[in-house]
């Protein structure tokens, strides 16, 4: 999923400073799963903002709404009937959702209430970790199902570097060395011999280095 974390309240207050009325819009997908911008977080942020405003001796009119998927024009369209209830939209979706709302409602300011972090997985209750950088040319089949691009701090394709220590990365003892994980997994799979195949320089064009990316499926495109 795409993970996110709510921005500090102060920063959000600064963003919406000129507004007396806002449309606070959550998303029912990834940000709900990572507890950053779902219905529950919309309600919490709504009260926090109103209380903060009251302390300043001002009021804030908040209309709360949570869309099924804020990155999908079909669902964003549902905002049409309520868009005028805010001077601005405050979105709790990931950056994709914020941009979809901005694209649909060209004359309405849209502010992000969360920082979009990474594509990751839940490690345990309340902990999410990065797993994929969407490089566009998946290597997981060669690296034992562990991604060196997302999980090695240097994204080395022929690691580990000299900073690997007791299975941890040199940048922080809380960070696993991806290449230790890859090696352990290759061993478990009986694929050690694969380690010495030199991974050639990566073609980063399939990643963001090649410019903004699109997928066009002729069989589905209208």
């Amino acid at each position: 999923m795409i993970t996110a974390e709510r921005k500090p309240l102060e920063e959000i207050l600064t963003l919406i400073e000129p507004c007396d009325r806002i449309l606070l819009v959550g998303c029912n997908e990834c940000v709900t799963v990572c507890a950053a911008g779902g219905r529950k977080e919309v309600a919490l942020l709504s009260s926090a903002l109103q209380m903060a405003r009251m302390k300043e001796g001002r009021t804030l009119d908040v209309t709360e709404l949570t869309l099924e998927r804020q990155c999908d024009p079909e669902y964003v369209e549902e905002l049409v009937t309520s868009i005028d209830r805010g001077d601005a939209v405050l979105s709790m979706a990931c950056g994709c959702g914020v941009q979809e709302v901005a694209r649909r409602f060209k004359e309405k300011p849209v502010f992000p209430a969360v920082n979009t972090k990474f594509m990751g997985a839940s490690e345990r209750q309340g902990v999410w970790a990065e797993r994929c950088q969407g490089c566009g040319d998946c290597l997981l089949g060669l690296t034992g199902g562990i991604c060196p691009i997302a999980r090695c701090s240097k994204r080395l394709l022929n690691g580990p570097c000299g900073g690997s220590s007791s299975g941890k990365c040199e940048i922080n003892p809380d960070v696993d060395c991806a290449w230790q994980l890859i090696w352990d997994r290759l061993k478990a799979l009986g694929l050690e011999s694969r380690y010495e195949d030199i991974a050639p320089p990566k073609d980063w064009r399939t990643s963001r280095d090649g410019g903004p990316r699109r997928i066009i499926r002729e069989d589905l495109a209208s």
Partner: protein, 307 residues
């Protein structure tokens, strides 16, 4: 001979080689480079010039190398893949060769988090092994990594680092094998304090005949004090400093610890000289370059052979 590198010639002659290093200044001060390099004249076969070491901005390795080459000395161009992409690195290699630089060291480099610009993007377009391959392809096939022909291809004697003490230990020989396969000519190792562990690694290296494919220069860093030994033991990732080293240094009075550190380095070198597969030494006397001549002399490695 693949190149005109002095280091290659010394190694080919069968002599033990000696290299040392010089960290460029944090400013446009050519005198500093020259001062440090001058101390090493006649003492070493190549002077590594670090490339934004520990991810801290310094004068570029290439420019400091040019200054050193102009003094008639033999710089070794260190190149980390952290700061520049494959275009920038290949163009610098062309420039280095055009200035009479014949030896390189290919590294991935410390993560920017350790440096003075932790906010910087880390490039890592290539890793160290891919850089070795790139430099070899430039030299032996006369082609850029992208496949086009090079006009007067640069002939670099290619080095890389190896850390026999990092984890997982069982991969350390295999990773050297990958560097050998990629085309590395010589290796400078991490500073060696745990000679027993180094011997274990060396024996794994010999089992695969890698010592015959690449020339291994043993890394030596003299300890200046017991405090430095403790710091290296506890704070520097990938460093293996046995308790005995700290104990021995702590056992002598503070003002004699530096001399004891030099003595220990020389003793280690004597033992390493006898180890099959050790083809020389890389002496990293950090901000202590003036001690290198004494260490080389006491290790019985002077005068340096003509090349």
């Amino acid at each position: 001979m693949k190149t005109e590198s002095r280091l290659e010639k010394v190694l080919a002659s069968g002599n033990l080689a000696v290299t040392s290093e010089c960290g460029p200044p944090r400013g446009s001060v050519p005198e500093k480079v020259k001062e440090k390099a001058e101390m090493l004249r006649g003492v070493v076969d190549g002077i590594n010039v670090t490339d934004n070491q520990t991810a801290v901005v310094r004068m570029s390795s290439l420019s400091a190398c040019i200054l050193i080459a102009q003094m008639g000395l033999d710089p070794i161009l260190q190149m980390v893949t952290r700061d520049r992409n494959r275009l920038a690195m290949q163009s610098d290699i062309l420039g280095a060769y055009a200035h009479g630089i014949h030896t390189m060291l290919c590294l991935s480099g410390d993560h920017p988090q350790f440096g003075d610009h932790p906010m910087a993007a880390n490039v890592y377009d290539l890793d160290s092994i891919q850089l070795i391959q790139t430099v070899r392809t430039m030299r032996d096939e006369g082609k850029f990594q992208g496949g086009d022909d090079i006009l007067n291809p640069p002939k670099m004697f290619i080095g890389a680092a190896a850390n026999p003490f990092a984890d997982p230990f069982e991969l350390r020989v295999a990773r050297l094998a990958k560097k050998a396969k990629a085309g590395v000519d010589f290796i400078q190792t991490q500073c060696i304090y745990n000679l027993d562990k180094f011997e274990t690694w060396m024996s794994g290296v010999r089992d695969r005949g890698l010592h015959e494919q690449v020339s291994i220069l043993a890394g030596i860093t003299p300890m200046k004090s017991a405090g430095m030994a403790k710091y290296m033991k506890n704070r520097v990732p990938g460093m293996d400093v046995p308790d005995e080293v700290v104990k021995r240094l702590s056992g002598v009075p503070k003002e004699k610890q530096a001399e004891e550190g030099i003595k220990m380095a020389v003793e280690d070198m004597q033992r390493l000289k006898e180890m099959e597969g050790v083809r020389g030494f890389h002496i990293m006397a950090i901000e202590w370059e003036q001690k290198v001549p004494e260490i080389v002399e006491r290790a019985g490695l002077l005068p340096r052979p003509e090349a």
